[in-house]
């Protein structure tokens, strides 16, 4: 059953199709690289504005070439391979961090269907049958980048950063998966193209968009947003590289270009997670505008980029606003709040899909259970937890 795929492959793959595939790949790849450069500059500039500083302003107009200059500089820096390090794994880790960051973007629909050289194709790199599971698979591979980079350095700070970071990433990956299920539940399909198609059209009253963020009642979106932030190690969840505690975290021992690759991967992940969020919850490329013609082909891309940009602004804003989480709070948030919440919400939503009256039953049940559990866990048992936090225990708070 491969009928649901990209119409590009519908009548065989000839040379033109292969060229289209390569062209699409190159364009998206280049666009991603450029947007990473711009994002780093934009983040520095916006954070500077928020802190009443000027920010980068030397290289190029408004300092827009600053990242490029930094990148070029790193090409000319000496690269150290610590004697303690595990050489092979140390060299492998940058690949494991960077490649999944790129690959997860492949499933994001960027626009509608267009015709290039007589072939209909979607403005989407790939639409594999596993759809959104591809994202989960890639994010589980991405854990290795952090973990192995830290482990292979053969040094203490990187190891601490790596173990911390990988535990954080796996914890939030569970919440990420569970909030994704909510989207699959209303769509009835794993394919990202179907998820986007399900959100097109008009929702309530003809003005409110038919986006999943509204249809699913915000909670899966919020859970996904928090989990995605943690998954890409963005502030306030950047414990992997908490510089006040761990020097540079998992990449302390990395220098020159290998360091640059981790940096690149982190910002790439930010872009990817924003794009995935737009796809899953904010309607993807859907938006008002004509359906046909050149404008009809380009406008969805514009809407998509606009939404992604808005999400990126939120990420930068978070970084400028929130202090870093403490590790125990981080784990609390993941396991005691996000996971139970998304599980309960999933069941409530499923029940409403089956029948409204069952929805009410499950909702009441979940609410009662939640209150009871809260009392049992927090009020009865964890009285000490809400008092002053335990004194710092050096071996354990990490």
């Amino acid at each position: 059953m491969l009928a649901a795929g990209d119409p590009l492959f519908a009548d065989g793959v000839d040379l033109t199709v292969v060229l289209i595939v390569i062209a699409k790949t190159v364009v998206v790849f280049g666009a991603m690289l450029v947007s990473v450069l711009l994002l780093i500059w934009f983040e520095r500039k916006l954070v500077a504005d928020m802190q009443a500083r000027i920010g980068p302003n030397r290289a190029g107009k408004f300092g827009v070439l600053q990242t490029l200059a930094d990148g070029i500089k790193l090409f000319f820096k000496e690269d150290f391979l610590p004697t303690q390090a595990d050489r092979r794994v140390y060299r492998l880790a940058p690949y494991l961090a960077t490649v999944p960051a790129f690959l997860s973007f492949a499933i994001v629909p960027i626009g509608g269907t267009v015709t290039i050289a007589g072939h209909q194709t979607r403005l989407q790199l790939a639409d594999p049958p596993v759809g959104i599971l591809f994202l989960l698979a890639m994010s589980s591979i991405a854990v290795y980048g952090v973990m192995l980079a830290g482990w292979s350095s053969g040094s203490k700070y990187p190891l601490l950063g790596a173990v911390r970071g990988s535990a954080q990433m796996v914890s939030y990956e569970a919440a990420l998966g569970l909030s994704t299920v909510a989207v699959v539940l209303v769509t009835g399909s794993l394919l990202t193209s179907d998820i986007v198609a399900g959100q097109s059209g008009e929702g309530l009253f003809g003005i409110i968009p038919n986006w999943n963020v509204l249809r699913l009642g915000f909670i899966p979106f919020v859970v996904f947003f928090i989990a995605g932030t943690a998954e890409s190690n963005r502030p306030p969840f950047d414990l992997v590289e908490a510089e006040q505690e761990l020097v540079g975290g998992f990449h302390t021992e990395y220098s020159a270009l290998r360091f640059a690759l981790f940096f690149l991967a982190e910002f790439m992940n930010t872009i990817t997670i924003s794009a995935i969020m737009v796809t899953l919850f904010l309607g993807g490329p859907s938006g008002p505008g004509p359906d046909s013609g050149l404008i009809g082909a380009l406008l969805p891309v514009f809407w998509f980029l606009l939404k992604v940009f808005a999400m990126l602004c939120v990420f930068v804003w978070l970084r400028a606003t929130l202090p870093r989480f403490r590790y125990d709070r981080l784990m609390d948030l993941g396991w005691k709040k996000l996971i139970p919440l998304s599980l309960a919400w999933l069941l409530i939503q499923a029940a409403f899909l089956v029948d409204v009256k069952w929805g009410i039953v499950v909702f009441t049940g979940a609410a009662v259970m939640g209150v009871l559990l809260w009392r049992a866990m927090e009020v009865g048992h964890g009285a000490t937890e809400h008092e002053a936090p335990a004194p710092p225990k050096f071996q354990e708070v990490r």
Binding site: P129, L136, S139, E173, A388
Partner: protein
């Protein structure tokens, strides 16, 4: 490009089979290299990485069989979760020394392994002869399993025919968690009692900014060394139960 050759359907099929064979061959090489790497690696982390390689090759093989969902599960659960768990165990043990592969912890395990491997191989061949268990021709979720995508077919059989197995899976997982919790708590109790044994070479975290607490001394005494008799001003009186050992 080329003159349009009229190709018969059988010819296309033959070449297409060749592509599939090529994919299969590449995967087999990946899987076998990974498997051999797991066995001969002296460093446990390298072994775990080779295991990931094997699992990845298996996932590609699943894709070639059009078992797309299974391939994703293979990567998500095995490569993403279980090997990460292995790595946590390796880091828990703090293994940095390379293991001597020639050492035999159990006497006679090597010949026994060969024997059991041979028996297993023979079983597979035997089963492939008589029944279709080994080759999986009686599939329920493949192309022969009815309409719908791979995932839909799987859902249909999991939630009807194999319902009991599905529910029992959750019990199994819970048992695993309970077991781990019990074992870990015992470990932690012993760790607190004999700190030297459990926390060898634990680096001091450079955490200089202490979390806001009642009275955090700049370098608070380490809780897992209670017998070092620090002046325990950071520890509210009667609170040692809140320390790692007691409250749990």
């Amino acid at each position: 490009m080329t003159p349009a050759l009229s190709i018969t359907a059988t010819a296309i099929l033959a070449v297409a089979t060749k592509v599939d064979i090529a994919v299969f061959a590449a995967c087999v090489v990946i899987v076998l290299c990974g498997a051999i790497g797991v066995v001969v690696s002296r460093n446990p982390v390298h072994a775990a990485l080779f295991l990931v390689l094997t699992l990845f090759g298996m996932a590609v093989l699943f894709v070639a069989q059009e078992a797309h969902f299974l391939a994703a599960v293979q990567v998500i659960v095995y490569a993403g979760a279980i090997v990460v768990l292995f790595l946590f165990v390796i880091m828990l043990l703090g293994v940095d020394r390379e293991e001597n592969v020639m050492a035999e912890p159990l006497r006679g395990q090597r010949p026994l392994a060969f024997l059991l491997g041979a028996i297993a191989l023979a079983e597979i061949f035997l089963l492939a002869q008589g029944t279709q268990w080994a080759t999986g021709a009686t599939q329920v979720a493949g192309p022969a399993g009815g309409p719908g995508s791979n995932v839909e077919k799987l859902a249909r059989v999991i939630f009807t025919r194999y319902l009991l197995a599905f529910e029992v899976t959750s019990v199994l997982l819970v048992i695993a968690v309970v077991g781990a919790v019990v074992l870990a708590r015992r470990y932690e109790t012993t760790a607190t009692e004999s700190p030297a044994a459990a926390q060898v070479e634990e680096p001091q975290s450079p955490r200089s900014e202490a979390p806001l607490s009642a009275a955090p001394p700049p370098a608070a005494p380490d809780e897992s060394h209670p017998d070092e008799s620090h002046p325990d001003e950071s520890q509210p009186a009667g609170e040692p139960d809140a320390a790692p050992s007691g409250a749990r």
